[in-house]
């Protein structure tokens, strides 16, 4: 093989490599557009005026006269602020209560010795296999019978325990050296104080991850709130958006609907952009399909 053919081959290889790169970036960009387009469309539509949106038979891909009128409509024509506050209360209280329950259990499993620990833990783990769809029927009846429909109690109570998070936190607690615990015991520190002062600060990354995942779950929950509330005063954002879709704004006011959608999406997208790596790492470590 002489030098000139060698060079030719090298150039050919180079071209092949380059065109492969172009194809890869093309396909990746294509999927990025598919993902981003609905977001672009909701923001775009939300700033188009009612009149101009409905006069466009072929919708325009940009607008020269953006308006915030739709946002005003979204907050005045339907109780969007109310939905928002409800969801906020629901999310904060559920997450806090769950944190208490989960931390206490994880602490018991990780650091305390008691009879039947292994059996109880296996029983807990086996509960992870039970699909929500099986138990939701009885829970609905239970909450109805307790007269807790259309209350925050009814919304919150069934979702304040998560076996998966107990498991995740227990694993984390167990990595903290036992010696610390013994030293604390010698110093006469109580279990509770040790948990608050030593274990929680050390496990902060896991706690943050669990909190964020739970917040996402709460903010997006739809099925249970739909079953348990039919009074608008207790609607969460998901139910609110469904209500808006079916009855709000006289059905055809799409720009106002999109404004509501933007408002509802913003908190989580902001949370995601801030805690991007934490969230992705947390989900990769064993989150579920959401």
């Amino acid at each position: 093989m002489n030098e000139s053919t060698n060079k030719k081959l090298e150039i050919q290889d180079n071209i092949k490599e380059k065109s492969r790169k172009v194809l890869v970036y093309f396909l990746l960009s294509l999927w990025a557009i598919i993902v981003l387009f609905p977001f672009y469309w909701m923001i775009l539509t939300s700033v188009k005026s009612y009149g101009s949106y409905n006069s466009e038979y072929v919708p325009k891909f940009f607008t020269l006269s953006p308006t915030i009128q739709n946002y005003a409509t979204a907050f005045t024509a339907v109780p969007l602020a109310k939905y928002f506050i409800n969801t906020f209360i629901f999310t904060v209280v559920t997450t806090l209560l769950m944190m208490v329950v989960v931390v206490l259990s994880a602490f018991a499993f990780a650091r305390l010795d008691f009879k039947g620990k292994d059996i109880v833990f296996s029983l807990f783990l086996s509960l992870m296999m039970i699909p929500n769809e099986l138990v939701i029927i009885t829970n609905y009846v239970t909450i109805t019978n307790l007269d807790l429909r259309n209350t925050f109690m009814g919304l919150i109570l069934p979702s304040v325990t998560s076996v998966f998070y107990i498991y995740l936190l227990k694993e984390n607690f167990e990595q903290i050296p036992e010696e610390l615990y013994k030293a604390a015991k010698v110093d006469g520190t109580s279990d509770f104080r040790y948990l608050m002062r030593v274990m929680l600060p050390i496990s902060k990354p896991t706690i943050v991850t669990i909190t964020i995942l739970k917040v996402i779950e709460c903010w997006n929950s739809y099925v249970w709130p739909r079953l348990i509330t039919d009074d608008q005063n207790y609607f969460l954002v998901s139910n609110g958006i469904q209500e808006i879709r079916e009855n709000g704004f006289g059905r055809e006011n799409v720009p106002a609907m999109m404004a509501a959608v933007v408002v509802i999406s913003v908190p989580l997208v902001a949370l995601f952009l801030i805690f991007r790596h934490k969230i992705m790492e947390g989900v990769a470590r064993g989150g579920t399909k959401g």
Binding site: P38, P131, T138, Y140, V283, T288
Partner: protein, 296 residues
């Protein structure tokens, strides 16, 4: 002894909540499904037997829901896993903009299904004012005008599957990219030294190494797709039976509440049938995986 007490006190809240909202309902759902003619208002029933199951299995709405659910499962699970694998492979082969793409791809995970579903509905729906963007695009290429939301069944099913895939992709891409990143680079170096062709590297190294994760995605994908519900509501509204797009889970909730509501017995029977289907499919999956998945 004191230690025992502390431990049980710590566990008390979890045991209480799990007992009331998981263990008791689990027993109860079987009992409900066997109580015939259960009346929600008086909380009484007429007899016990398998009538509820028979009723559900002969209900045309349930058959429709069963059919829809199976179509969604069969289309979305292989497609989404395949596309996710392709995207993850491409993603791991680049350096520039990689972080940007990863962030963008994960975005649907943190969005509210109901809210974004509304945007999809707008894009696909035909109204008095406009044919909808997607339909207009099709017409641009000489196709017919299609209403994907209130139109023919295949069109509705198309949007349904498209939206489902859009929603499940972030999770799959994330899991696969981290699986690909954890493959020991030594193997690839050895393959390059041996001048192994690219496709061969993929089939002989990459795929076996990430097969446990692919398999995990297939199993969770099946389970998730069988439980499809919120995405359907997002696109077609709460009255899924009228739209002909109901799913098994949707049927359960409709039986419990909603237009045909107030029948926890039928709901329980349908939920148990769903559970039996999911259990069977998962068992088959596990058996197949024993033969095909490579564990280190």
């Amino acid at each position: 002894m004191k230690k025992n007490v502390t431990a049980w006190l710590c566990l008390l809240p979890a045991i209480l909540f799990l007992g009331i909202f998981m263990v008791y309902p689990l027993v109860d759902v079987f009992i409900y499904s066997l109580e015939e003619g259960y009346n929600f208002a008086s909380q009484s029933y007429q007899g016990t037997g398998l009538y509820n199951y028979s009723y559900v299995l002969h209900d045309p709405y349930f058959i429709q829901a069963l059919k829809n659910t199976f179509i969604i499962v069969i289309i979305t699970v292989p497609l989404s896993t395949g596309i996710a694998l392709l995207i993850s492979l491409e993603l791991s082969s680049i350096k520039v903009l990689r972080d940007f793409f990863q962030t963008v791809y994960f975005l649907p995970y943190v969005t509210n299904t109901l809210a974004v579903g509304l945007v999809f509905m707008i894009l696909f729906k035909k109204t008095a004012y406009s044919d909808g963007l997607v339909s207009l695009l099709i017409q641009l290429f000489g196709g017919p005008s299609v209403d994907f939301i209130d139109g023919p069944y295949p069109a509705k099913m198309f949007v349904m599957c498209f939206y489902t895939i859009w929603i499940v992709m972030p999770f799959k891409i994330l899991i696969l990219t981290s699986a690909l990143a954890s493959v020991n680079p030594m193997y690839y170096k050895a393959a390059i030294v041996d001048d192994t062709p690219k496709w061969r590297i993929f089939y002989k190294i990459t795929l076996p190494m990430i097969s446990p994760m692919v398999f995990y995605l297939v199993i969770t994908g099946f389970i998730g797709a069988f439980k499809a519900y919120s995405d359907e509501v997002a696109l077609f509204g709460t009255d899924l039976n009228a739209a002909g797009m109901n799913t098994i889970v949707g049927y359960v909730y409709d039986m419990l509440y909603g237009n045909s509501g107030g029948y926890p017995s039928y709901a329980s029977a349908a939920a148990l049938i769903l559970f039996a289907i999911v259990f069977t499919i998962t068992t088959i999956n596990l058996m197949v995986s024993k033969k095909t998945v490579y564990y280190q």
